[in-house]
């Protein structure tokens, strides 16, 4: 590998490096409080479903509209709107990762990742609960 190849190499590496810098606008994990400060900015909320407030979803009226309330570990709460179907395990979830933007007092959610106890076989507490149920 000599001069010419090295030159091409460097150009390519620089180009890809530049693209990388330019292209990846990482998002952040936020609390509801800090997300409210970042209006309109795409963030990841780590929160829990607020079980004291109703979940509104009616597939007959509009299958692409779900709204519920989420609370985070600091006790802040927000309404969440998710324009998609209701994830079936939402009520059972222990923790949710909500991806989207804060718009005023409402969180416009684009994607929901659920942490559900039923899916995790390696959780001993959960296994102890289920072992007698079957």
């Amino acid at each position: 590998m000599k001069t010419s190849s090295i030159i091409i190499l460097v150009i390519i590496a620089a180009a890809i490096g530049g693209l990388l810098m330019y292209s990846v606008d990482f998002s952040t994990y936020d609390t509801i409080g800090s997300a409210k400060q970042k209006q309109g900015q795409y963030v990841h909320l780590i929160a829990k479903l607020d079980k004291s407030k109703p979940i509104q979803y009616d597939a007959l009226k509009d299958p692409n509209y779900l709204t519920f309330y989420a609370v985070d570990s600091l006790g802040n709460s927000t309404q969440v709107i998710y324009r998609n179907t209701k994830p079936p395990e939402l009520e059972q979830s222990e923790r949710v990762v909500l991806k989207g933007k804060m718009e005023g007092n409402v969180f416009e959610c684009k994607d929901i990742l659920l942490k559900c106890p039923s899916k995790y076989k390696d959780d001993k507490k959960q296994l102890e609960k289920t072992v007698t149920q079957y």
Partner: protein, 838 residues
């Protein structure tokens, strides 16, 4: 206390064989290592014989462990935690193997078993390199078996045994009773997401790919300790080809699986788990090209070392990412947290082999020969090397984004995925596709050392014109419709499309004009053709994928008006609700949710959807098919759905269920109203009227099959709705064993229930009907149109066959065997990828 009905013997036998395999792997490592250091030929041979014996004992033991796990799983011995977690009685026998490798322990065992298989081949083929090569294989074995050990050292459990007992692991009141097993009715079973035949075939192939990457690095190691620079390349090349073929196929099997059975709407989502397997493959392919360059020109030896070592490092790094639970927040399908001790163990394994080999490589870096003379710009090796570098850099790009959770752990940051994860990969890799497409096309006609420019232009002119014309025609008549990322990206897609079409045509042209269809020498051209075809398929299928269940186009539902943000949504409304028996328009199709059918598996239901495409002018039915996507509904309302797909040669219609109706528990408040009717009488209801056409005695038709002992009267009713539709209903009155039964019938779309309640004294028939507002039968689904997806699978099959052709050519296999191997691989892959689901 003694416990009843436990079967402890298989566990003890299994655990004994784990220990035996572990000890044998240590002995084998030591013996092989000693043999590799000894010069005296006689002594060396005796150490090798000893090491081989240990290796075969290890192999036998691991087979015994596997057989034992299979035995306890197939007998449902829930006293073993592994069986309880992964097996269940209702699981079909074909999934028994799958539940063995669903867990960490089973998948490590599978990996170790493949090392045994590869090692057995190496013993007979590696010749003078056997001792060094097998040292590496056995070190890998040592670590994998360590993960299965489950022994305590200083109160820390090392590894996790598949034979631990449920009662020792879990705490619960039942375990204090001798008959606790009678309380454990059934195991948890295989996760419904994994109940698919791909779960039976994909992990073994992928783990064979993983295991096989240990072989090239083992050969590199053998050359570094004997200072026989370069000699290893020829011996390792067939193994690298094997690895590239198997790993590549394994990855795309994962893609095919995701497409066939998971509901994230495609075959690739840039999920960290997928990336973690793709990255080593890219580096391996880069290394493979450097090795080929070295074979022909003696260039690129140092790069070959580097890439082969990095391949193995990244295989283990990907294991680390997927198995330590670090991806928990970013991936939909990684393993979960396995405990700190296990994580540390996996962490050590990641660097245990690659780091020492790296050390040897850098120590001898200066002595590894490299050619000082600059390559000619018109030489094949120069451009091949550039191609390898591009692959390597794209691998680094992919892994650097995928490793985000690792940065967060190390630096305490809280960075998360970018807003559009797929696009942040796509926009870089679409440019890689352009370069790789052009390189794989042009470099076929380049010659090693230098190429006559006139020859090159003459040869390339024809394919270039054809592919230019082809892609321009494509852009005019079948343009890529992916506008949401702006015109720049659209142009990039078209460029990439041109480059990959160019590569397909150039490689085909090369096979014809240079090789004269001598396919035996054309492995590389075949593999490149396949790869380019796969990329073409990916560009078209992803670029022109359409959501056809789009509400905003069908106009069926008006969104809630109580949107508190008070603004129009730009989100597509991609899910469509179908009421039972109500035809609904979706794209070009009219879709009717007809009925459900239960499966023989617990909690699984198929939803039968009839798709009809009717010509609006002639009214002729052009397409008519039934799709049956299905879903598992668990008792906690957990829904896992599997898509239903209609495969055409040029496109797929892909649907999956996103919501189902849950039958309401509360009582229906509406009541039946009784009508006394003569035949021909009609009754009005809120949305139309119905007519009693006839009363049939013991009819035998598609709905009713009465036995001769029964007496049945069936009312034939036609319902005429205001919407102009008419429906049939046939409630029945059945006398069976001197008991009267009323068989209710429903017209769901009109919310009508009918009963045939008897015969009135005045020879009239008592028909009762009710209208209910408790509408409960509906499903919500999402449907996609995937064009030319078959190009992806066909491309992959061709690419894999190209690898195999190269492989059998390199090992100089006898003609008969070569044809047989290629034929079998072709048939297997063609069946798996293209026929099996059609």
């Amino acid at each position: 206390m003694t416990f009843e009905n436990e079967h402890l013997l298989p566990g003890q036998v299994g655990h004994f064989f784990v220990l035996l395999a572990f000890v044998a792997s240590i002995i084998s490592v030591i013996a092989y290592f000693t043999a590799s250091k000894i010069r005296s030929e006689n002594e060396k041979q005796s150490w090798i014989r000893f090491a081989r014996a240990a290796f075969f004992i290890e192999t036998f033991s691991l087979l015994a462990v596997f057989a034992t796990i299979f035995y306890i799983c197939s007998n449902h011995y829930y006293e073993y935690l592994y069986v309880y977690k992964h097996a269940s009685r209702e699981l079909e026998p074909k999934y028994l193997l799958a539940c063995i490798w669903e867990g960490q322990e089973g998948s490590f065992l599978l990996w170790a078993l493949w090392h045994c298989g590869l090692g057995s081949v190496l013993i007979f083929t590696a010749k003078k390199r056997e001792a060094a090569v097998m040292t590496i294989i056995n070190v890998a074995q040592f670590f994998l078996i360590l993960m299965l050990l489950g022994l305590y050292f200083f109160n820390v459990r090392i590894g996790s045994s598949p034979f631990i007992l449920t009662r020792n692991e879990l705490v619960g009141p039942i375990f204090s009773q001798p008959d606790y097993l009678s309380y454990i009715k059934d195991g948890i079973g295989l996760n419904p997401l994994l109940r698919n035949y791909w779960m039976v075939i994909h992990p073994p192939i992928l783990f064979l790919g993983f295991a096989s990457t240990a072989v090239p690095i083992a050969f590199a190691y053998s050359s570094l300790i004997t200072k026989d620079w370069g000699g290893w390349v020829k011996a390792a090349l067939p193994w690298a080809l094997f690895s590239g073929c198997v790993l590549g196929t394994g990855i795309m099997m994962g893609g095919k699986w995701a497409y066939e059975s998971l509901s994230f709407g495609g075959y690739w989502a840039w999920d960290p788990v997928e990336n973690a397997a793709l990255v080593p493959w890219l580096i391996l392919v880069a290394g493979l090209h450097c090795m080929v360059i070295f074979n022909s020109t003696k260039n690129a030896l140092r790069a070959s070392y580097l890439f082969i070592i990095l391949t193995y490092l990244f295989i283990l790094y990907s294991t680390f990412l997927t198995r330590t639970g670090i991806l928990g927040d970013t991936s939909v399908h990684s393993f979960t947290e396995a405990g700190t001790a296990m994580n540390v163990l996996i962490g050590i394994y990641v660097i245990a082999i690659s780091l020492p080999v790296f050390y040897l490589f850098f120590r001898h870096y200066k002595s590894i020969p490299s050619i000082q003379k600059e390559e000619d710009m018109s030489s094949r090796e120069f451009w091949m090397f550039i191609g390898a570098l591009i692959l390597f850099l794209s691998a680094l790009f992919v892994i650097s984004i995928t490793s985000l959770p690792v940065y967060n752990k190390v630096f305490g940051t809280n960075l998360a995925d970018p807003q559009d994860r797929e696009f942040s990969y796509n926009k870089v890799l679409v440019l890689v596709a352009v370069i790789v497409g052009l390189l794989t096309g042009i470099s076929q006609f380049l010659k090693y050392r230098n190429t006559n420019k006139k020859y090159l232009i003459k040869k390339l002119a024809f394919p270039l014109v054809i592919s230019l014309a082809g892609s321009v025609l494509l852009a005019i008549f079948y343009p890529i419709d992916y506008v949401k990322k702006g015109p720049g990206f659209l142009v990039a897609i078209h460029l990439a499309l041109f480059a990959s079409i160019f590569s397909v045509i150039t490689n085909a042209f090369y096979l014809k004009s240079v090789l004269k269809w001598n396919l035996k020498a054309g492995g590389a051209a075949i593999a490149h053709l396949g790869f380019a075809l796969m990329i073409t398929g990916m560009l078209i299928s992803a670029g022109n994928r359409k959501v056809i269940s789009d509400n905003s186009k069908t106009g069926l539902f008006i969104p809630f008006d109580k949107d508190p943000t008070g603004r129009a949504t730009e989100d597509p409304m991609e899910n469509l609700t179908l009421l039972k028996e109500v035809p609904t328009r979706m794209g070009k199709y009219t879709v009717t949710y007809m009925n459900d059918s239960a499966s023989n598996e617990k909690d699984r239901t198929f939803y039968n959807l009839r798709f009809q495409k009717i010509d609006s002018v002639t009214g002729k039915v052009e397409e008519d098919f039934v799709l049956s996507p299905d879903a598992y509904r668990m008792k906690d309302n957990n829904l896992t759905s599997n898509p239903g797909t209609k495969h055409y040669l040029t496109h797929d219609i892909f649907t999956y269920i996103s919501t189902i109706s849950i039958p309401k528990e509360e009582a229906d408040t509406s009541t039946f109203k009784l009508h006394e009717l003569n035949i021909g009488d009609s009754v009005f209801y809120s949305k139309g009227f119905y007519v009693l056409n006839n009363i049939l005695k013991n009819p035998d038709n598609e709905k009713f099959h009465f036995s001769p002992n029964d007496t049945a009267l069936v009312a034939d009713i036609t319902v005429y709705g205001q919407n102009g539709m008419s429906y049939k209903a046939s409630p029945a009155l059945l006398i069976h064993n001197q008991e009267i039964k009323l068989l209710t019938d429903t017209v769901i779309s009109q919310n009508l229930y009918f009963n045939f309640s008897g015969i009135a004294s005045n020879k009239k028939f008592k028909i009762s009907s009710k209208e209910t507002d408790n509408l409960s039968d509906f499903i919500t689904l999402k449907a996609y149109y995937f064009p030319y997806i078959n190009l992806v699978w066909l491309g992959l099959v061709i690419m894999s066959c190209g690898f195999v052709v190269s492989l059998v050519n390199r090992v100089k296999a006898p003609r008969k065997w070569a044809y047989l191997t290629i034929g079998l691989v072709l048939a297997f892959l063609f069946y798996m990828f293209i026929l099996a689901n059609a």
